[in-house]
């Protein structure tokens, strides 16, 4: 195995060990409970991986710098919720939606899965549409300006959710979101089913993303990332490709939002903060390996694992001063981890294979000429 992958393997093993042993030890080796705990952990990792994958398509494939991931997260989750919930039952709850029950055909146990499928598709469609509309102004902006703008978009969306009473129930949020195939399982067993479902969705998206990367479309994106001027010169419409990547990434995030909403059962504006809905995914992507899909999933696993471990630490005797602040310490360490990774190992845990010039070559069908004053490749994925 390559030398630079030893830290990766170590990190993976350490996290896995801690995530299994700590709860086991704390619960007195109650393996049933541990299994349940690990299932919940795995479901969250699977869901968050969807977001990091989507972000990788936007950033790693096409260099679109989206600091407003939480906007798509929110939109996807709310859309799925609105589509599957029963209409508002009056009282203080006001929101649009509630198409769910109307959509279930009476055969094939339709009510168990059709509304959820529709909800997920609606989430993807709406996120895709938002990304498409935004791409026209957004793709004209310089990278750092785009970052600022996307932060603003996310904030604006949260404003809309809270201010527009009657849209999605403002601060109160939407509760009681139903779950697919819920009646088929006992409440205890349902989580295992949902894990399978989440992993299946993740696998689907992952393989689709990998195929896309190796397709002609993906090759253009790769060439674009390595040498934008040369790619543009060969006649490809750079903006169109980036727009497509932006939209596809957004749709994946929308799907993530839907899967999140069904699992969680409730959504409210408080859950969608910049930290929990944007920053954490960037941290996961950078730590795991920016620019590649496997890194995206690994990053979600490792960062969420560390997250859980820090909570587990509460079970051990700690000085009071530390115990009270454990959440802040955890956040601080995540910020520090990100900065550390950027300084020390910018390619992340799973570095991308350096197939740089091959893509450009194949696309342009010739070796790029040595240019006078060739600038260093200021690549978007931080290269060592």
């Amino acid at each position: 195995m390559r030398r630079d992958l030893w830290p990766t393997l170590l990190a993976f093993l350490a996290v896995t060990a801690a995530v299994i042993i700590m709860p086991a030890e704390r619960s007195g080796w109650d393996w049933g409970g541990v299994l349940s705990f690990l299932t919940a952990f795995a479901v969250t990792v699977a869901i968050y991986s969807l977001f990091t994958l989507g972000l990788n398509v936007q950033w790693g494939y096409a260099g679109v710098f989206n600091f407003g991931v939480v906007a798509f997260f929110m939109l996807g989750a709310y859309a799925a919720a609105a589509f599957t919930k029963e209409p508002a039952a009056g009282g203080f709850d006001t929101y649009v939606g509630g198409l769910g029950p109307k959509l279930s055909p009476p055969f094939l146990q339709g009510e168990e899965w059709v509304p959820f499928l529709v909800g997920a598709l609606a989430a993807m469609a709406m996120c895709g549409a938002l990304a498409y509309l935004l791409s026209f102004p957004a793709l004209r902006l310089r990278e750092d300006y785009l970052a600022i703008a996307t932060i603003g978009i996310a904030e604006l969306m949260r404003n809309v959710v809270v201010a527009e009473r009657g849209l999605v129930n403002s601060e109160r949020g939407l509760k009681g979101i139903p779950r697919p195939f819920y009646s088929l399982f006992s409440p205890d067993d349902y989580q295992y089913f949902y894990l399978l479902l989440a992993v299946a969705v993740l696998a689907l998206v992952f393989f689709a993303a990998e195929r896309a990367l190796r397709s002609p479309w993906g090759r253009v994106l790769r060439a674009l990332r390595e040498d934008e001027t040369a790619t543009a010169a060969s006649g490809k419409d750079v903006t169109a490709f980036r727009r497509q990547a932006f939209v596809v990434g957004a749709m994946i995030m929308g799907l993530g939002g839907a899967v999140y909403a069904y699992e969680r059962g409730a959504v409210s504006p408080d859950t969608f903060t910049h930290f929990a809905g944007t920053f954490i995914f960037w941290a996961m992507l950078m730590v795991g390996g920016s620019g590649n899909n496997r890194g995206a999933v690994l990053g979600a696993y490792v960062v969420w694992g560390l997250w859980i471990i820090s909570l587990q630490l509460l079970g051990y005797p700690l000085p009071e001063a530390l115990r009270v602040r454990i959440f802040y310490i955890r956040d601080l360490l995540l910020g520090a981890l990100l900065v550390l990774v950027l300084l020390v190992r910018p390619q992340g845990l799973l570095p991308e294979e350096r197939r740089v010039s091959i893509w450009v070559e194949r696309l342009l069908r010739r070796r790029p000429p040595e240019r006078e004053g060739a600038q260093p490749l200021a690549g978007r994925a931080p290269e060592a």
């Binding site: 040595e370 006078e372 004053g373 060739a374 260093p376």
Partner: protein, 241 residues
């Protein structure tokens, strides 16, 4: 014309290897500039001429080779120190501070000698009267030719031992090119050694005492400028005849 070998060497570059990241541009370049000489470096595009300038002044770190200024080893020193020792550099593009006024540009040129700024300014304006008229204009508003003059004047504020010029005629109308070259000749006649990289090989050779021909990051030819001007090989490959 006096034999250059009898004069003291001001700048000596030997076996310089440099590039950007993994792309290597210079594969061992050598040259000398003697006191009061004007040396031209010509060659096709992609030969590494600009990189050579940047490696000498410290904007690009050489991977091998040496740069000596009056015998002192300045290889790999950061630009601030190279400039302090007496080499001033005029880049090809972006060679003025556009949001600063003409006077402020010159003041920045004299950053290392704050106590002598006033006198140096007067001297610069005497040498470049067209800049004197535009003291408080923003450099970004100047025409191409005026900007080139300002870039030259800025580099001269420190009374360098060697002046490095990267394609001073680039982007200028032919009449302006004449004016710029005349200025360069004036500067050189006053005693400053000049190392000039030029795309316009013919004009450069007419101006310089000696010249080097660079291609693919390596020395190809060298000799007195007159000779190279007359050489059929040079004419064919580099003068576009």
């Amino acid at each position: 014309m006096a034999d250059s070998t009898s004069k003291a060497t001001v700048l000596e570059v030997s076996g310089l290897v440099a590039g950007y990241g993994e792309v290597q541009i210079l594969h061992g370049v050598s040259l000398r500039v003697a006191e009061g000489e004007m040396v031209a470096v010509i060659g096709p595009n992609g030969a590494g001429k600009s990189t050579l300038m940047k490696a000498i002044v410290g904007l690009v770190r050489p991977q091998a080779g040496r740069v000596l200024l009056r015998g002192q080893d300045i290889t790999g020193l950061p630009p601030e120190q190279v400039v302090a020792r007496g080499i001033c550099y005029v880049p090809q593009a972006d060679n003025v501070f556009p949001s600063l006024t003409v006077q402020e540009n010159l003041e920045m040129g004299a950053y290392l000698v704050p106590k002598q700024v006033k006198e140096r300014l007067e001297r610069a304006f005497a040498l470049f009267p067209e800049l004197d008229q535009r003291r408080h204009e923003r450099a970004g508003r100047l025409s191409g030719g005026q900007r080139q003059m300002l870039a030259l004047a800025r580099a001269l504020m420190l009374d360098p031992q060697v002046l490095l010029l990267d394609e001073p005629s680039a982007g200028l109308a032919p009449r302006m090119v004449e004016v710029v070259f005349a200025k360069v000749r004036e500067i050189n006649a006053a005693g400053t050694a000049v190392l000039m990289v030029e795309q316009n090989a013919r004009e450069a050779l007419k101006l310089a005492h000696r010249a080097y021909v660079l291609a693919m990051g390596q020395n190809r030819l060298e000799g007195p400028a007159q000779e190279l001007l007359g050489s059929p090989e040079v004419a064919r490959s580099y003068l576009g005849e």
